[in-house]
């Protein structure tokens, strides 16, 4: 955990006070809604279909139990008793009243949480691997650098009015859980031939109307140069990114139009002129930040304690353990994913009561720490393996032990037309119906790893382009239709999915997905050939035939 110091706290409080003043000016009519719009967006406040929505940042997905309890408090006190975890390590509250927003933010500020730059055309919440610091084989904890970037990007005087939104993601593992290739800047920590730690910098990834997978702009940037190099990219983008067309304003379009070589050259020219910049991070500064991250005092514990051996007799426990428990870098401990995808539930939602209960379990079993992943699930990152049976019983009781992590019903979905004013179609009921269709755990297990992503419009908040099966809501003559893609992925082999055919109406989506899954089961060469690998091997044609033969 990173501990805020007096300076961090002061800044967040100053931001709350500024926003309180902005809301006051709006409520008094001194600011028009149009003038206020930019100001509220810079602080994560959207105007949705029914109410204002507040998006709160959970930087690099790390939460303390105290912070989670405070989120529960905000859900209960200012909202309708629940929150929605998003694909970018944020939580959204959908029913906040404008007049109460400053108080909600002040309550959050007390525990070091804020909503700065969770929307608007600025640098957004810096996201990272939800297993940062605990994943076996990690180069080093990427959150140190995430926090340096969080501070660097917060209220940046030059880059708060960019052509469009700008997102960073960082990973330090070979397997990318942070989806860095679909970010404006993706950073991969690695070690070069000299053993020095630095970053492969990728640029120009993004989804939306025109999806692009990020390209490598520089294979190695030393840690000390990270901020100056990032500033060079942002400066080139701020000056030359398109501002004439909102759909062409992301950096991915600039990179695409210039070509990566030319863009890289522009950045290099800018960066060279920044030599000796005050942004150079010397070791002492990095150590300062590192020193404010605390790590658990792990005990020496057995890998196979008695408790685990005994519990293995319970098939329900075993099903959960095999699905939701992952190896930890420290022997005797495990990483546990909490599924926020119950059968029939909206993906990523948690009630205030669940949040409080999870905070308590984190205190008891995970050194008071919780993580949020881009798959819209929560994680307890430091669980002693001997505690797994007890933890499972407690999680099961509050409904977050569905053993469907990474399976077909672990669906990523945006709020869609049920909440969002941008949406063309509903996302949540589609997800709910799919979880019912695939509710049988044995069937889901047989199918294996399969990511379904649903977006209610082309803005792609549900990352449909990179779902193994992607579902995109569109509007046709006033009715909800859905385009289906397959073969997308968001990991280190990120790819954009391919459309399998004409859009289908709302009522047929779940049938189509079932058809695709059945086709896969018939086509795979071995039980362990994953859906995505079958699609890669065969292309979309056999799936298209199966789906449209009878339609």
């Amino acid at each position: 955990m990173y501990a805020y110091d007096e300076l961090d706290r002061t800044l967040v409080n100053e931001r709350v006070s500024e926003f309180r003043d902005q809301v006051t000016r709006r409520l008094s009519g001194e600011l028009t809604e149009d003038e206020f719009k930019m100001l509220r967006l810079q602080n994560g406040v959207y105007l949705q279909l029914h109410a204002y929505m507040l998006r709160v940042a959970i930087p690099y997905g790390t939460l303390s139990s105290t912070q989670l309890r405070r989120l529960a408090h905000v859900a209960r006190r200012y909202d309708r008793g629940y929150g929605h975890f998003t694909t970018r390590q944020n939580i959204q509250f959908n029913w906040i009243k404008l007049a109460e927003l400053p108080d909600a933010l002040a309550d959050l500020a007390e525990v070091g949480i804020h909503s700065m730059q969770t929307s608007g055309n600025n640098t957004r919440n810096v996201t990272s691997d939800q297993w940062a610091g605990v994943a076996p084989g990690e180069i080093e904890d990427p959150r140190i650098w995430s926090e340096l970037l969080r501070q660097y990007t917060t209220l940046h005087p030059e880059f708060s009015f960019l052509p469009r939104k700008f997102k960073f993601a960082i990973t330090a593992s070979a397997h990318d859980r942070a989806a860095i290739k679909i970010h404006d800047i993706g950073l991969r920590l690695h070690r070069n031939a000299e053993g020095e730690t630095g970053f492969e910098v990728l640029v120009g990834g993004g989804l939306g109307r025109t999806p692009f997978i990020a390209k490598t702009i520089k294979p190695f940037v030393a840690g000390r140069d990270l901020l100056s190099y990032v500033e060079a990219i942002l400066r080139v983008y701020n000056q030359y990114g398109r501002r004439d067309n909102i759909y062409k304003a992301r950096i991915k379009i600039l990179v695409h139009e210039l070509g990566i070589e030319k863009f890289a050259q522009e950045v290099e020219n800018e960066w060279r002129q920044m030599q000796g910049s005050a942004l150079m991070l010397d070791d002492a500064v990095v150590e300062e930040i590192r020193s404010r991250f605390s790590y658990p005092a792990y005990e020496k514990l057995p890998h196979l304690p008695e408790e685990l051996k005994n519990a293995a007799r319970d098939p329900k426990f075993e099903a959960w353990r095999k699905n939701s428990v992952f190896p930890h870098k420290v022997s005797g401990y495990a990483i546990v994913t909490l599924s926020l995808k119950p059968v029939g539930g909206p993906p990523g939602d948690a009630t205030a009561d669940q949040m409080d209960a999870i905070a308590e379990l984190a205190d008891k079993y995970s050194f008071g720490e919780i993580r949020v992943g881009h798959e819209q699930n929560l994680v307890l990152p430091h669980v002693a393996r001997r505690d797994l049976p007890a933890l499972w019983r407690a999680l099961d009781k509050i409904g977050v032990a569905t053993p469907n992590v990474n399976l077909v019903s672990d669906i990523i979905a945006c709020p869609g037309l049920d909440y969002c004013s941008l949406a063309n179609a509903r996302s949540i009921p589609i997800a709910q119906e799919l979880t019912r269709r695939f509710a049988n755990h044995d069937t889901a297990n047989l199918i294996g790893r399969l990511h379904i992503n649903i977006s209610g419009c082309i803005n792609a908040c549900g990352h449909h382009h990179v779902g193994h099966i992607g579902i995109l809501g569109v509007e046709k003559n006033g009715e909800e239709f859905y385009q289906i893609t397959i073969g997308g992925r968001a990991d280190e082999q990120a790819a954009v999915g391919t459309l399998i055919g004409p859009a289908v109406p709302y009522g047929e989506v779940a049938d189509v997905v079932e058809d695709i899954v059945e086709a896969y089961l018939a086509l795979r060469v071995r039980p362990d050939e994953l859906f995505i690998d079958t699609v890669t091997r065969l292309g979309v044609e056999p799936f298209r035939e199966r789906v449209y033969a009878t339609r």
Binding site: L7, D8, L279
Partner: protein
């Protein structure tokens, strides 16, 4: 439109002169980049002070040869949302060491003041009277800054390092 200069509402000594209007003798003038670049030598030789309104779509590099002879560089915010002039301002101050008046023009509102000050602006053609009146208070809204810019404010990172040093020195 009130002008805030060095934190106070002041009378604008500069006259905006349109491209087709005659130059008013020795008065201090603000002219467009196009007019300035037409004959920069002659304009820099004027007895009266000369300032240039520089568009946000043109590299400031073209202005660099004349910087030490200009009294004002006015950068433009065609809308609140268009942040190109922040980059231009920092480049002028931090890379080209421009020391004259750096003026923000266009849609300049209260909620940009701190960003503009940090980017190096020291004068502001403020859109609304009430925002101009609130300048002094707004400018002091923040006491903690995460990024180093040319405005000399100490960053949080360096403040922490100093605190560390003074702690260890006291032991």
């Amino acid at each position: 439109m009130p002008l805030v200069r060095h934190g106070k509402i002041t009378q604008d000594a500069f006259v905006h002169v349109a491209d087709d209007a005659p130059l008013p003798g020795d008065a201090a003038i603000l002219i467009s980049a196009a007019r300035f670049l037409d004959d920069p030598e002659a304009l820099c030789r004027r007895v009266g002070r000369t300032g240039v309104i520089w568009p946000n779509s043109r590299d400031v590099d073209d202005l660099v040869p004349w910087l030490d002879r200009l009294a004002v560089v006015a950068l433009v915010f065609p809308s609140f949302r268009d942040g190109r002039a922040y980059s231009q301002a920092r480049l002028l101050r931090e890379r080209y060491f421009y020391r004259g008046e750096l003026r923000a023009t266009g849609q300049v509102l209260r909620d940009q003041f701190v960003f503009m000050l940090r980017a190096g602006f020291d004068s502001f053609e403020v859109k609304k009277e009430s925002d101009a009146m609130a300048f002094a208070v707004t400018a002091k809204r923040y006491s903690v800054f995460y990024q180093p810019t040319g405005d000399g404010r100490i960053t949080a990172l360096h403040q922490r390092m100093q605190m560390r040093h003074s702690e260890s020195a006291g032991q």
